[in-house]
C-alpha cells in the first residue's frame, strides 16, 4: 500500500481499533442526542422561526380575549399589510384525552396572512366558503385521525358552548391542507369564524389572537409598540410580539424547550469532549517516541500537529456519520409515536449543518491540546521515552 499522510492517519487510528471504535461510538451517541433533541426543538418551533409576522394577544394572557372590533383599527395602521383573527375552540374528539387543535378563523384573510406557511388551494377555500360548517384540516391531523374530505366530525369544546348550551360542534371537512415545509405544524383544523361567532353562546366576536402580516420593510418592533399603545388605555390591553417570540413564550408555559435542549446537549458534548480529549492526550503520549522519530526524520512540528488534528477530525467525522444515521433511523419512529406532541419532527438540513459545524469545532478543540503537546515535544526528550 502506498505511503501517504492519510495512510499514516488511518494506521494510527486502527492500531488500537477497539479504542477508536469506542470513541466513535461515544461521539456518535452525542450527535444522536443532539440530532434528536434539535429536531424536537425545530419541530416545536415549526415554520414560525422564519416569519416576520406579528401576533397580537391579550396583555393579561391566559384565556383572556380581545374584541374583534380591533381588526379594522389594526388593519388601518400604516405598517400593516394584512391582518386576520384566530379564536381557539379548545376542543377534543370523542374523549377528553384526544385533544385537537381547532381554530375559528376568517379563512380568506387567514390564507393570505399565512400563505408562506400553509398551502390552501382555491378549490378548498371555495368549498369551505359554500358551507358554514366547513372545516379545513391539516395533513398531520387528518392522517392521525384517519379523516378525509367529506367526512363529518364532531368536536366537543371545553369552553365554548353553542347557543343551546350544547358544547358539541359538528363540522364537515371541506379540504385537507399541507404545510409549506416538512416541519410546518399541520396538526390542527380551521373552522369558519362567521359560523362560530354566530353559534357560540358567550364571548361572541371575541378572539384570542390577531395575526398580522407587516408591509415589506416595515419596522415590526415599532409597529408592535404602536399597536400596544393604541390599546393601552382600553379595557382589553394588547401584547404584540413576533410570532417566533409568541411561540417560544407559548411553549415555555410547559417547559423551556430551548434551555432543556441546550442543557442536555451541552452536558453530553462536555462529557464527550473530556473523554475524547483525554483519550487523545493519552494516545499521543503513547506515541511520544514515534513523534520524536518523525521529528528526527524531518517532519516539522506543524506537520505532526496537522496529523494529530486530522486524526481527531476523522474520529469526529465517523462519529458524526454514526450519530446522524442513528438519528435518521430514530426520527421517523419518534415522529410516529409523538405525532400529537411534536407534529413536525424531521431531521432537517439545518440540524445536519449545525451538527457538522459542531463536529469540526469539537474535533479541533479535542485535538488542540494533544497536537500542541506534540508540536512542543523536544526531540531529545522524546527519544528517551520508551
Amino acid at each position: 500500500m502506498r505511503l501517504s499522510p492519510s495512510l499514516l492517519i488511518r494506521q494510527n487510528l486502527t492500531r488500537k481499533l477497539l479504542r477508536s471504535i469506542l470513541l466513535i461510538l461515544c461521539i456518535g451517541v452525542a450527535f444522536f442526542i443532539f440530532g434528536v433533541l434539535s429536531s424536537f426543538q425545530q419541530g416545536f418551533k415549526g415554520a414560525s422561526a422564519q416569519t416576520s409576522r406579528l401576533v397580537v394577544a391579550s396583555k393579561v394572557g391566559g384565556n383572556e380575549t380581545l374584541p374583534l372590533s380591533y381588526l379594522p383599527e389594526i388593519q388601518a395602521l400604516n405598517g400593516v399589510a394584512d391582518v386576520t383573527h384566530i379564536t381557539r375552540l379548545r376542543a377534543y374528539v370523542e374523549n377528553e384525552r384526544n385533544i385537537v387543535g381547532a381554530n375559528a378563523v376568517d379563512l380568506e384573510s387567514y390564507a393570505r396572512v399565512y400563505s408562506d406557511a400553509y398551502a390552501f388551494s382555491t378549490e378548498m377555500l371555495r368549498a369551505a366558503g359554500a358551507d358554514r360548517t366547513a372545516i379545513l384540516v391539516g395533513r398531520t391531523l387528518a392522517e392521525r385521525m384517519g379523516w378525509s374530505t367529506g367526512d363529518t366530525v364532531t368536536l366537543t369544546s371545553f369552553v365554548h358552548a353553542r347557543s343551546g348550551g350544547d358544547r358539541n360542534w359538528r363540522f364537515t371537512i371541506a379540504g385537507i391542507f399541507d404545510g409549506a415545509e416538512m416541519t410546518t405544524d399541520t396538526s390542527f383544523l380551521l373552522a369558519r369564524a362567521d359560523y362560530f361567532h354566530t353559534a357560540v353562546m358567550r364571548n361572541k366576536n371575541r378572539v384570542d389572537l390577531f395575526g398580522i402580516q407587516p408591509k415589506p420593510g416595515a419596522d415590526t418592533q415599532a409597529l408592535a409598540r404602536e399597536i400596544d399603545a393604541l390599546y393601552a388605555n382600553s379595557g382589553a390591553q394588547t401584547r404584540t410580539q413576533s410570532e417566533t417570540a409568541f411561540m417560544s413564550a407559548f411553549l415555555e408555559q410547559f417547559a423551556n424547550i430551548a434551555l432543556l435542549v441546550r442543557l442536555i446537549v451541552g452536558v453530553a458534548f462536555a462529557t464527550i469532549l473530556m473523554i475524547v480529549a483525554n483519550t487523545m492526550i493519552f494516545a499521543i503520549r503513547e506515541r511520544t517516541l514515534e513523534i520524536g522519530v518523525l521529528k528526527v526524520l524531518g517532519f516539522s512540528g506543524g506537520r505532526i500537529m496537522c496529523i494529530v488534528l486530522a486524526e481527531t477530525l476523522v474520529l469526529f467525522a465517523l462519529g458524526l456519520c454514526l450519530g446522524l444515521c442513528l438519528t435518521a433511523v430514530a426520527i421517523p419512529v419518534l415522529a410516529d409515536a409523538l405525532q400529537s406532541v411534536v407534529p413536525g419532527l424531521y431531521l432537517t438540513p439545518r440540524v445536519i449543518a449545525t451538527a457538522l459545524a459542531l463536529a469540526v469545532g469539537f474535533a479541533l478543540a479535542c485535538g488542540a491540546l494533544p497536537s500542541i503537546n506534540a508540536l512542543r515535544l523536544p526531540i531529545a526528550a522524546a527519544l528517551k521515552h520508551r
Binding site: L297, G298, F299, I379
Partner: protein, 234 residues
C-alpha cells in the same frame, strides 16, 4: 550537495542538563573536528556525553555556549524550521532500538522520510526498492517490523536513515540490541556505506569490537576525550 565538504566542527561547546534546581555540566569546553567521510566510533562510560554529541551534531539538542558547524552551516544560528529541513537533508539517524513505526511495513518505514521530498510516488517506490536491496532486505518489503528479526529491523532502520541520501549518519549504539552475528552484519553494512558511498558515520558504542570498522575511535569520559585510536587499515 556532493561538492560541499561536510566537515563537522564543535568549538568550545558548553552543555549542561538540569538536575533539580541546579545544572550538571556535560561538556565545559568541548572542541573536536570530524572530517567529511570519516567513520568515528565514540566509546565511553554511561553519562560521559556520547549520545549528547550525536544530538548536538544532529541538531536535536542545542548548546548552551559554543558553536556546532557542519559544512559551514552554524546549527546554533538556525531557526527550528530551517534546522528541521537541514536535518532531513543532511543527517540520518540509526537508533539502538530501531524505532520503526510498528504499523508500517518495512518499505513504508523506509519511504517515510521521502514523504518530505519532491519525489513522485513512483520515484519513491523505486528508491525504496533500491535501498532495501542495498541492505539485503529486497524480499521483506511488506513485512511489518514485528515480523522481522532484530538484525533485519536494524537494516530497515539503516535503510530509512539513508533513504533521503544524507551525508552524515549518526548511529547511537546500532548493535546494542543485537546478537554477535547480526551485529557484525550491521557493522559491515555501515562500513560499506562509509567506504563505498562516502557517508560520514559517527557511531556511539559500548562494544569495543564494534570499533574495528571505524577509521578512528575516541574515548570520552566526563565530557572530555581521554584517548584516540586511529585504525591501521584506515
Amino acid at each position: 550537495m556532493t561538492s560541499v565538504s561536510y566537515d563537522i566542527e564543535l568549538n568550545g561547546v558548553y552543555k549542561s542538563y538540569p538536575l533539580g534546581k541546579s545544572r550538571i555540566p556535560i561538556f565545559e569546553d568541548l572542541t573536536m573536528t570530524i572530517p567529511d567521510g570519516d567513520f568515528l566510533a565514540i566509546m565511553g562510560p554511561s553519562g560521559s556525553g556520547k549520545s549528547t554529541i550525536l544530538n548536538l551534531i544532529g541538531g536535536i539538542d542545542t548548546v548552551v555556549r559554543g558553536h556546532v558547524s557542519i559544512g559551514g552551516s552554524m546549527l546554533d544560528k538556525m531557526s527550528t524550521r530551517a534546522l528541521t529541513r537541514w536535518r532531513s537533508e543532511v543527517i540520518g539517524f540509526v537508533f539502538q532500538f530501531y524505532n520503526l513505526m510498528p504499523m508500517l511495513s518495512a518499505a513504508q518505514n523506509v519511504e517515510l522520510p521521502l514523504l518530505l521530498t519532491d519525489l513522485s510516488a513512483a520515484e519513491r517506490r523505486e528508491r525504496v526498492h533500491t535501498i532495501l536491496d542495498i541492505v539485503g532486505l529486497a524480499d521483506r518489503h511488506d513485512h511489518l517490523p514485528s515480523l522481522l528479526s532484530g538484525g533485519q529491523q536494524q537494516r530497515v532502520g539503516i535503510a530509512r536513515a539513508i533513504a533521503s541520501d544524507p551525508r552524515i549518519l549518526l548511529c547511537d549504539e546500532p548493535t546494542g540490541d543485537l546478537d554477535r552475528k547480526s551485529a557484525d552484519e550491521i557493522l559491515e553494512l555501515l562500513q560499506l556505506l562509509n567506504t563505498k558511498l562516502g557517508k560520514t558515520i559517527i557511531m556511539v558504542t559500548h562494544d569495543e569490537s564494534s570499533t574495528r570498522v571505524a577509521k578512528r575511535t575516541v574515548i570520552l569520559d566526563k565530557g572530555r576525550f581521554v584517548s584516540e585510536e586511529i585504525a591501521q587499515c584506515a
